[in-house]
Amino acid sequence: MTAPPVIEYRDVRKRFGDFTALDGVSLTIARREVVCLIGPSGSGKSTLLRCTNGLEAIDDGSILLDGKVLPTDARGVRLMRRRMGMVFQNFELFPHRTVLANVLIGPVTVLRLPRAEAEARARTLLDKVGLADKAASYPASLSGGQQQRVAIARALAMEPEVMLFDEPTSALDPETIGEVLGVMKRLAEEGMTMIVVTHEMSFARRVADRVAVFERGRIIEEGPPAQIFDAPTVERTRDFLSHLGWSG
């Protein structure tokens, strides 16, 4: 972990009214690193991802991208978002567009790539996630796992430096979870920097370089998966893992 940090959270705080969703989160993500965020429901994992790409504004602390504080002006935020791909729990594919058009839309409308170039890029990515034959289909005709793989291709089409995944397999049928995790694993092996909120402990264990455990808006423990899963030093981490039925 000598690589320079891509993203650095410094004492990040976020409130919704009286409720404190992030209560001083500090975390550093190095280039090519895969960090999994785990923890109970409502502990602030999604909120941290949403603050990272500016879908929510933080109240205090700072988030740095490549050593620079995240911009807050509209244009700066847009430029920053190009550098981060986001994958949502509910896929959020655009239902009125074909699979190919979903993957094209970022490069065409945001990067203003020529159509042919954007299409070539989109087809390469669809091939990469194993869905080249679905290019002309509409999202509604795809399985959940296929939709989520399209969503990953859509995010990758912007050639981001960092990928943010918010429970990418939580809305999936068990039989399609594996295909999405497989795509993510390959992405990790290629050196993509990834922040992954997940309840898939076996994925976190196999793929993550580091795991951060959230509780009530704080990181209560952080370390390599071997430590978190086999020898957690914090009592609450052990409780959380045993609650999930995790036994090492």
Partner: protein, 219 residues
């Protein structure tokens, strides 16, 4: 009472002209009120207080006044306010456009807010501007969803154009009533008028039903 249908055929040309004007008025009104309604909806959802307020006021004002009152008011106020003499047709177009824009604005607004928030966020996450997210992702879906409502508004508008006969716009209703008062053939002219409106309106209503079946229950 003896009915003399010859009067209808004698005035067929005038009735045809009136019908053409009715269609033209309805089409022109919709051509204005679709973008008009979109602007009303965008202002309402802009998040900019004075603009949202102006939009809401406009909508609630024109949606809740009887159309005939708006038509009369436009007829008397528009020339005073602008210093320009408007033709009856132009006056009617303004009045109907105000009314239908208010309705369409509300329709578009409801359609836009019915689209899951995550859709807009996914567009923003790709780096789109708010305008791009609206144009590329939210609006196309919202339009599909409100198409049945727009179609119903169209059918209502088509019939409501008859109200502008009160300011002497020579559309179908006015033309029929004029012939009636010249010939005193009341029943014949009412029947002819009803037949023409019905023949034009019925296929439209059927089309609306088809649109409803097609788009009404998607997602």
């Amino acid at each position: 009472m003896k009915l003399d249908w010859a009067v209808v055929w004698d005035h067929a040309g005038a009735l045809a002209q009136g019908t053409a004007l009715t269609i033209l008025l309805a089409v022109a009104t919709m051509a204005i009120a679709l973008p008009g309604g979109l602007i009303v909806a965008m202002l309402r959802l802009s998040g900019i207080r004075p603009l949202a307020w102006a939009s809401t006021t406009f909508t609630e004002f024109f949606r809740n006044l009887p159309l005939i009152l708006v038509i009369y008011a436009t007829y008397y106020i528009l020339p005073l306010a602008t210093g320009i003499a408007f033709s009856p047709f132009a006056t009617a177009l303004v009045a109907l456009s105000l009314n239908v824009s208010a309705y369409n604005g509300e329709t578009f607004r409801a359609g836009i807010v019915s689209i899951r928030r995550g859709q807009g966020e996914a567009a923003l996450a790709l780096g789109m501007s708010r305008l791009q997210a609206m144009r590329e992702v939210v609006l196309p879906q919202a339009l599909r969803r409100v198409l049945p409502v727009l179609a119903s508004t169209w059918v209502a508008l088509f019939k409501d154009t008859s109200l502008v006969s009160v300011i002497s716009v020579g559309e179908l209703a006015y033309t029929a009533m004029e012939i009636r008062s010249q010939t005193f053939r009341v029943l014949e002219m009412l029947t002819a008028m009803a037949a023409i409106y019905w023949m034009l309106g019925y296929p439209q209503a059927k089309l609306v039903d088809a649109i409803n079946r097609h788009f009404g229950i998607s997602e």
